[in-house]
Amino acid sequence: MAERLPLAKAVNAALRTALDADPKVLVMGEDVGKLGGVFRVTDGLQKDFGEDRVIDTPLAESGIIGTAIGLALRGYRPVTEIQFDGFVFPAYDQIVTQLAKMHARALGKIRLPVVVRIPFGGGIGAVEHHSESPEALFAHVAGLKIVAPSNAHDAYWMLRQAIECDDPVIFFEPKARYWDKGDVDTDGIPGPLHAARVVREGTDLTLLAYGPTVKTALAAAEAAADEGTSLEVVDMRSVSPIDFDTIQRSVEKTGRLVVAHEAPVFFGSGAEIAARITERCFYHLEAPVLRVGGFHAPYPPARIEEDYLPGLDRVLDGVDRALAY
């Protein structure tokens, strides 16, 4: 059944379906119960599934992840919510030293099917610690899987797949896109969770993005088309693992690659993509892989965040620089 839903409602629908299908699935986090979350993503779930399944937690991020690990060891499948990106760091130790490594430490004898939902990214005029993109900090850690949907349909299916996954999954939700509506086909068969997708065909240059930046990339391709330039837009969808095969095929076709993400460019996921695509596509590249993203500075106050974020103009500037080679 296809339904037109805002991305936030698609996440809610995925949680509802998962809670309904498996009594071992739990939703836990700060304010996820009566309030329905600060973005109302979990709205109505506690009313329908009870306080034992949709659990309001103390205000303690390490406690949320640490107890979710214990619940997973007991056979539950906790879906945790970290209220905002910048608040994940009190839980970073539990995620990195415990959640990511316990399966390996037990030589595969135990599994940690924990999902960590994190609304991430900027553009909503928030105060500090509410607009960050820390995905690279997690991608560097073996044992975690990291995904970031860009639209409502993917948000629904990728979350369901993340909950079914036996590995810990960091699920980055593009909070600036929570209110964007899209068709969600709940009957369809989803593609692989970690596959990238070509969302717009083109011939002159590949524009790679994920999460909130996909919308910007599509707008840039539209603008470039008006100027006679054909951009292929690839939605990466998964940050760990990265579907390099799909990216490679696109770059072999277009000969140029620009990566756009909100996170700082320095040591960001774009750096890894640039290095690997240069290895894979050296003889196909007409220009170096270029990156457009955040600066090596704390996320700025909201009044100047549009300068920091890779908006339409900065993305097109990156495209122009790549085409100039």
Partner: protein, 396 residues
């Protein structure tokens, strides 16, 4: 679990007045004249350092001679295993060893208070607990030899992997206990940690979560007086067991060198948890007689006279005196146990020397349960790299 206690379990926040409480105040024992964390706290004791049985108004213990001999055997074998592992580290067979010397009563007494379906979350020094849970001692050596990071199946003996990051496992225990309560099981969960870990935020968060969800977890703090070189005074101004009060659950300090008191108190705490009354904190007041690990040098920070004070409270010697007072163990028993100890040591020594190094490709195994393309790619590349040497050798 009774109907009443199940109801209490379900009600979450209900606090009962049936928790074991201290009535008779007893002066705190002090470690080598040092203050041991603020004000003096009463301490449960059932066996004096001279091996004399004393009664406690809140913690009684009926125990047979056979059970006493069993506790003694567990402590002696744990100490012998520990001594052998320390020797193996000195001989280069282990990279590191954290000795349990002096903490045998705290570990054996608490572990023997548990049922098989209870679940234990240890830190990295719980060799005696592992012994009681039925984990083969040689399994504990793998991570210290460097052939794995744990390796045993936690669900075989309901004994989780050793956790190196201080205090992390206390939250895991709490979450597991929350799951136990959801399942309607009457199992208890035991979380081991040390006096140093009591300063960690994760332990404080575990206290909060367990209290608000009424989780059936026993927090078992082995206060061995030292967190590497930091004394308990650097962790707290109040006796550690008193922390529980602020979270809304009972805390009790037990003489951690008295295996009978530890057994009785831990049994009561486990019963408190399994009957739906929520968490309880047990502070086992004990002493780490050796170094923190084989890399440590306690002579740089410990007062010279402190060890002698605690040697007089040796947990094994104390139970031996008690057995001899009772006439519950004869010379043949002790001789047979010595032989069993030596046999255990020989078995461990043999096991470590025949323990194979893992295949280099093992680094790529079990990183993910459902696979990961980057791991697959790097595994294939490294396998090809290793194979290139074989090709080269053939060419020559």
């Amino acid at each position: 679990m009774t109907v009443e206690s199940r109801a209490a379990h379900g009600s979450g926040a209900r606090k009962t007045a049936t928790a074991p409480r201290k009535k008779a105040a007893r002066p705190a024992r002090r470690g080598g004249g040092r203050s041991t964390g603020g004000a003096a706290g009463a301490m449960v004791q059932l066996l004096t350092p001279e091996g004399e049985r004393v009664e406690h108004p809140d913690y009684s213990l009926d125990i047979t001679d056979d059970e006493l001999r069993g506790l003694y055997r567990d402590m002696v074998l744990s100490r012998r295993f520990d001594a052998e592992a320390t020797a193996l580290q000195r001989q280069g067979e282990l990279g590191l060893w954290p000795s349990l010397l002096g903490q045998e009563a705290a570990q054996i007494g608490s572990a023997r208070a548990l049922r098989p379906d209870d679940y234990v979350f240890p830190t990295y020094r719980e060799h005696g607990v592992a012994w009681c849970r039925g984990v083969d001692p040689q399994m504990l050596l793998g991570m210290f030899r460097g052939v794995n990071h744990g390796g045993w199946d936690p669900n075989t003996n309901n004994f989780h992997l050793y956790t190196i990051v201080i205090g992390s496992q206390v939250l895991h225990a709490t979450g597991y206990a929350m799951g136990v309560a959801k399942d309607g099981s009457d199992a208890a969960v035991l979380a081991y940690f040390g006096d140093g870990a009591s300063s960690q935020g994760d332990v404080a968060e575990a206290f909060t979560f367990s209290a608000v969800y009424n989780a059936p977890v026993v927090f078992f703090c082995q206060n061995n007086q030292w967190a590497i070189s930091e004394p308990t005074e650097r962790q707290t101004r109040v006796p550690l067991y008193q922390r529980a009060q602020g979270y809304g659950f009972p805390g009790v300090r037990v003489d951690g060198n008295d295996v009978l008191a530890v057994l009785a108190v831990t049994r009561a705490a486990a019963e408190h948890a399994r009957s739906g009354q929520g968490p309880m904190l047990v502070e086992a007041f004990t002493y780490r007689m050796g170094a923190h690990t084989t890399s440590d040098d306690p002579t740089r920070y410990r007062p010279d006279d402190e060890l002698a004070v605690w040697e007089a409270r040796d947990p094994i010697l104390r139970l031996r005196r008690h057995l001899e007072r009772l006439g519950a163990a004869d010379a043949a028993f002790f001789t047979a146990l010595d032989e069993e100890s030596d046999a255990l040591a020989r078995r461990v020594r043999e096991a470590i020397r025949t323990m194979p190094d893992p295949d280099p490709m093992a680094a790529f195994e079990h990183v993910y349960a459902d696979g990961h393309t980057l791991v697959d790619e790097e595994r294939a590349q490294y396998a090809a790299y290793l194979a290139s040497f074989a090709d080269h050798a053939e060419e020559n």
